[in-house]
Amino acid sequence: MITSVFGVLFDGFAYGMLLFLLSVGLSVTLGMMNFVNLAHCSFGMIGGYVTVTLMNSMGWPFLATLPVAFVVAAITSVLFERTMFRRLYRASDLDQCLLTIGLVFVSVASAAYVYGTIQQPVNLPSYLRGSYTIMGVTLGAYRLFLIAISLVITALLVLSLEYTRFGAQVRAAVDNQRMARGLGINVDGAFAVTFALGSGLAGLGGALAIDIVGLDPSFALAYLVYVLIVVSVGGLGSIGGSFAAATLLGISDMAGKYYFPEIGSFLIYLVMVGLLMWRPAGLFGRRS
């Protein structure tokens, strides 16, 4: 019983880290521009397919594909940001939703056309495949690797946001966009870079997700819901909030599916709706 609790906690934490990578970018960009980008997980999906393609068609090693997944997702996203999204920053929520849902549809259909609707296989290197047993708890090597990567990235994000000049600009823009512009900060430029970074992280998350949740064209829609939960519960523009919300969601989703397989997802949505009604701006958000 105790070991199963630890096992669920561990798997749930690893899953939460995955959700964090997938959603942190959206949280920050939403906080900056209030732009509801429902296509965020499509960028994540791009990362996944980049890794699959490089590994299966070109024989690249898994680890080498990760930076490429990041970069391709980042570049693609910034192309869309410059050509389409920026025209809608002052448009209504509805228009933003519709445009980005349209892009989700296009990405799902394109992925289905190129790769088919089957789950994509991924061959992990042997050192990531095994598991370690510590005091009766089985810890998957891949999940340990995932947690390590995510913690390093979280630390980098927090440090760069706190201590770099760029980070200060982003924080100012999230706090008060008008004031930031007044201070001469190039908010649009900072936003484009943040957007690229955020989508890149989603791409990395998409690549890392293949072994845990699989990859097929429905990824862009299925994980969108989870990402939105993390963002809205964690609060816009808050890295700490996203981290906490993702961890919470990951663990409770695992626990729900493990202990109450019948109503696991129901509980998740119930908790989300309840939390939002209690605090519309999220657990850690300051404004709605």
Partner: protein, 344 residues
């Protein structure tokens, strides 16, 4: 013609003129009878179109007129669908009362939800409607004893309509039944949007802050329209159950919420005929391309959405209105109007 004479006749004449039935509307409703004569093999599709149009109309009332975004409107459609199905499964197969039951059930759910909806805006509202839709889907999935779960609800049997008309295989009864209900509820909606209440809804859409500042009862209005819209969506769902005699989890799917949003926006949100036109185009196109993988089908839909948002903000009807409202078009048609004796 209208502007000069209306100014003389008092301010209400202008609004009265907007309320009048136009020839094109009469033509549209007459054209809905064509499937009986021209394409009798497609009556099932025609009734699907009528049901979807009704669903889109219900969304138009909250989204197009009151500006309340919803990513989970299928919740009410599906709730009505299950309500009608479960009633029939338990031995009451009379269609009209069953439909009333579906409408009331969904309306009640909408009324409860409306207290939450009226309090939120922006991202929180989007998330709550989305989350609520998913919540209901999962609930229906888990409550297999009531809904049949993933296998769908079995054993829905409808009695003949009015005791006389059986639901036939060709969809003859299904189409005229759906069409009459669509028309009746369209009349209700048309009445509603031209009323003082409808005017207040447009005010909420245009500027909710200012509505507060002129002392408007915005929240009460939102609760009311949300309830009406939910009941209409429930009736549409009930119609689907009754005309197909099955209910599956798909009635509550996120995909259904997204589709109906697409249909409305393509046709033109905030215009009574927007959802109707959108439903015709969407369903007929999907029927034509039914041979291809359904996943590919979303490619053109996605592209269309992007194009509409970026280049055609009022949807198809908005675009048409812009063309027909332009000076050039007016100049083109004026000679025709003179010839027909319609111009002063």
């Amino acid at each position: 013609m209208t502007s000069t004479s209306a100014a003389l006749a008092g301010p209400h004449e202008h609004l009265r003129a907007q309320d009048r039935w136009r020839a094109i509307e009469v033509v549209f409703w007459l054209a809905t009878l064509l499937p009986f004569l021209v394409t009798p093999n497609y009556l099932s599709l025609a009734s699907q179109v009528a049901i979807t149009a009704l669903f889109a109309l219900s969304l138009d009332l909250i989204l197009g007129y009151a500006g309340i975004v919803s990513l989970g409107h299928a919740a009410f459609f599906g709730f009505g669908a299950y309500a009608a199905g479960i009633l029939s499964k338990h031995g009451w197969g009379e269609p009209l009362s069953g439909l009333l039951f579906a409408g009331i059930a969904a309306g009640l759910l909408g009324y409860l939800m409306s207290f939450i909806i009226a309090r939120f805006r922006h991202l929180a509202l989007i998330m709550i409607t989305l989350g609520f839709g998913l919540l209901l889907l999962e609930a229906a999935n888990s409550a297999g004893w009531l809904t049949g779960g993933a296998d769908g609800l079995q054993g829905v049997r409808m009695w003949p309509l009015l005791g006389m008309f059986r639901f036939d295989l060709y969809g003859f009864t299904a189409y005229w039944y759906s069409l009459i209900l669509l028309f009746l509820l369209f009349l209700v909606s048309r009445r509603l949007i031209n009323s003082p209440f409808g005017l207040s809804l447009r005010g909420i859409r245009e500027n909710s802050t200012r509505m507060r500042a002129i002392g408007a009862e915005s929240r009460a209005h939102i609760r009311k329209i949300y309830t009406i819209s939910a009941a209409m969506a429930g009736i549409a769902g009930g119609l689907l159950t009754q005309t197909t005699e099955t209910v599956s989890l798909g009635v509550l799917d996120f995909q259904r919420s997204a589709d109906i949003l697409v249909i409305l926006v393509l046709g033109g949100a905030g215009r009574l005929y927007g959802g109707l036109i959108g439903a015709i185009i969407f369903l007929v196109a999907r029927d034509q391309f039914s041979g291809i993988n359904p996943q590919y089908w979303y490619f053109p839909i996605g592209v269309l959405l992007v194009v509409v948002v970026l280049f055609l903000p009022g949807g198809i009807l908005g675009g048409l209105a812009q063309i027909t409202g332009s000076e050039r078009f007016q100049r083109m048609v004026r000679p025709l109007m003179v010839w027909r004796g319609k111009s002063p």
